[in-house]
């Protein structure tokens, strides 16, 4: 890896970190959602660096375009939307930090064992390969997942439907 690439990757990592911290630490719920958007888009940038372009595109399209939008909807529907900022009081910060530290330790341990810093050639996975593996090797999990999603969707409609016709 060249120095430039390391710099770029660290910058992206910094963005992800800032986004994640902003999400949990921001006092304003709306800001939290937007920090989350930053974290998600920066993650997509890391995917691009890892030559997983398809994954990056899907990440932005689904997470930044879909999930963030739904999060905004959820915020708007649950809070009174007139006037000033919507407060975001995080409860039990200490325990949260503890869990976060534990997770970080876990990931760190795994990463150190996996020897990620060793230089190697990244395999180029293009969209066609992903498509083939979805419809070939992994066709059963893929279809089971789609059935699950359809079931979830039907369930959501059933729950959301009003009692009166």
């Amino acid at each position: 890896m060249s120095a430039l690439e390391i710099l770029g990757l660290s910058l992206l990592a910094l963005f992800v970190l800032a986004g994640a911290l902003g999400t949990v630490l921001s006092k304003n719920l709306v800001h939290s959602v937007l920090w989350l958007a930053l974290a998600l888009v920066a993650t997509a940038g890391i995917y691009v660096r890892l030559t997983a372009g398809f994954l990056a595109g899907a990440q932005v399209l689904l997470y930044a375009g879909g999930v963030i939008t739904l999060a905004i909807f959820a915020v708007m529907l649950s809070a009174r939307i007139e006037g000033g900022p919507i407060p975001n009081e995080s409860a039990k910060r200490g325990r949260g930090a503890l869990v976060a530290l534990a997770v970080a330790g876990l990931f760190g341990g795994v990463l150190l064992q996996a020897d990620v810093l060793a230089p190697r050639d990244l395999p180029v996975v293009d969209a066609a390969d992903i498509g083939r593996s979805f419809l070939g090797e992994y066709v059963l999990p893929f279809e089971v997942l789609s059935v699950l999603l359809v079931a979830a969707m039907i369930g959501a409609i059933v729950i959301a439907r009003r009692e009166d016709p």
Partner: protein
């Protein structure tokens, strides 16, 4: 990857700066053209005082916007309010990265070009909503909420419409899609059904995602005063304006690339000629869009949703299925 200037990084840098500045210039004159065009449509003249035929009007407008008072409301969410116009322009410019203007003349010919464009389109809603929320104005908030609903809804038919050329060409790389249409096999013309249908769907959904008339309900000046841009003044307002026009030009360019053969046209494959064909096609599509814009009144927000979920989405699914069947049939032995 076809590289014109030394390393890929240098290539992207030079082309990126060049294309973006060219596009900004083109956009300001596109606005001038639109004003002239609308003027002629409405039996009036349009700008004519600044320079010959009002040609210096865009420059005057830019100066006017720059010297206007830049007001941030006291109760606004300052960070979001000030960041939103900047992001709006940036996001609108993002799609340019994958757009092949001529053979080899592309900033980054990504393998997943179509996906990149769709992802960039999905991002447009974030600055719009930031503006709507950050203004702390009820009209702006309503506009922002409308923008979100619209973007969530119209993202789906947009993906389906863009999927059709991907299926037909077998690639998500925009240069491959253009190559697949070479020699006049434009997807809007051939195969007869799905291509044209998807093209229309693409334009409708992109107009809706870019909040252009007749789908401009987040701005809706007769109802919401000016929607998301109600509180914006000066150049910050100008950036929204610019972003909207850039977006509409990019949509026209992508429509040309995906459905009208991109830079493909009669004559030898030289850069200048390809560029000419591309510009010509984009201009034609843009004029068509202007015509629609200056002829139609706005849809109501709920009608917009009905149109999307009840008509565009099913027809998009149908078009995708039809194009898949077409590809299967041609591979089975039918010939092109």
């Amino acid at each position: 990857m076809n590289v014109l200037f030394g390393s890929p990084a240098l290539h992207a840098l030079v082309l990126g700066v060049g294309i973006v500045s060219a596009l900004l210039g083109v956009t300001s004159y596109f606005i001038w053209f639109e004003r002239k065009f609308a003027g002629r449509m409405q039996s009036r003249i349009g700008p004519k005082h600044v320079g010959p035929y009002g040609l210096l009007q865009p420059i005057a407008d830019a100066f006017k916007l720059l010297i206007k008072a830049d007001i941030t409301p006291d109760t606004a969410d300052r960070a979001l309010f000030n960041l939103a116009p900047l992001l709006a322009v940036c996001v609108a410019l993002l799609s340019l990265a994958v757009l092949p203007l001529a053979s080899g003349l592309v900033i980054a010919d990504l393998d997943v070009g179509v996906l990149f464009f769709l992802a960039a389109g999905a991002l447009t809603v974030v600055p719009t909503w930031m503006a709507g929320w950050g203004s702390n104005n009820k009209y702006a908030l309503l506009g922002g909420m409308r923008a979100i609903a619209q973007s969530v809804a119209y993202g789906v038919p947009l993906v389906l419409a863009a999927l059709v050329p991907v299926i037909l060409s077998g690639s998500m790389k925009l240069s491959d899609i253009v190559a697949a249409q070479a020699g006049g096999h434009w997807f809007a013309l051939w195969p007869p059904g799905p291509g044209l249908g998807a093209g229309v769907l693409f334009v409708l959904a992109s107009l809706a995602e870019g909040n252009r008339i007749p789908f401009d309900i987040p701005e809706a000046e007769s109802e919401l005063v000016s929607g998301i841009s109600t509180e914006y003044t000066g150049m910050k307002f100008g950036m929204f304006y610019l972003g909207e026009y850039v977006h509409s030009l990019v949509v026209a360019a992508l429509f040309v690339t995906l459905f009208l053969g991109g830079y493909d046209g009669p004559g030898p494959d030289v850069l200048a000629l390809q560029l000419l064909w591309f510009v010509l096609k984009v201009s034609l599509v843009s004029v068509l869009l202007l015509w629609v814009r200056w002829s139609y009144v706005r849809l109501r927000s709920d009608q917009l949703m009905t149109l999307c979920w009840k008509y565009l989405l099913p027809s998009g699914l149908l078009l995708v299925a039809a194009s898949a069947v077409w590809v299967w049939w041609t591979e089975q032995g039918g010939s092109r």
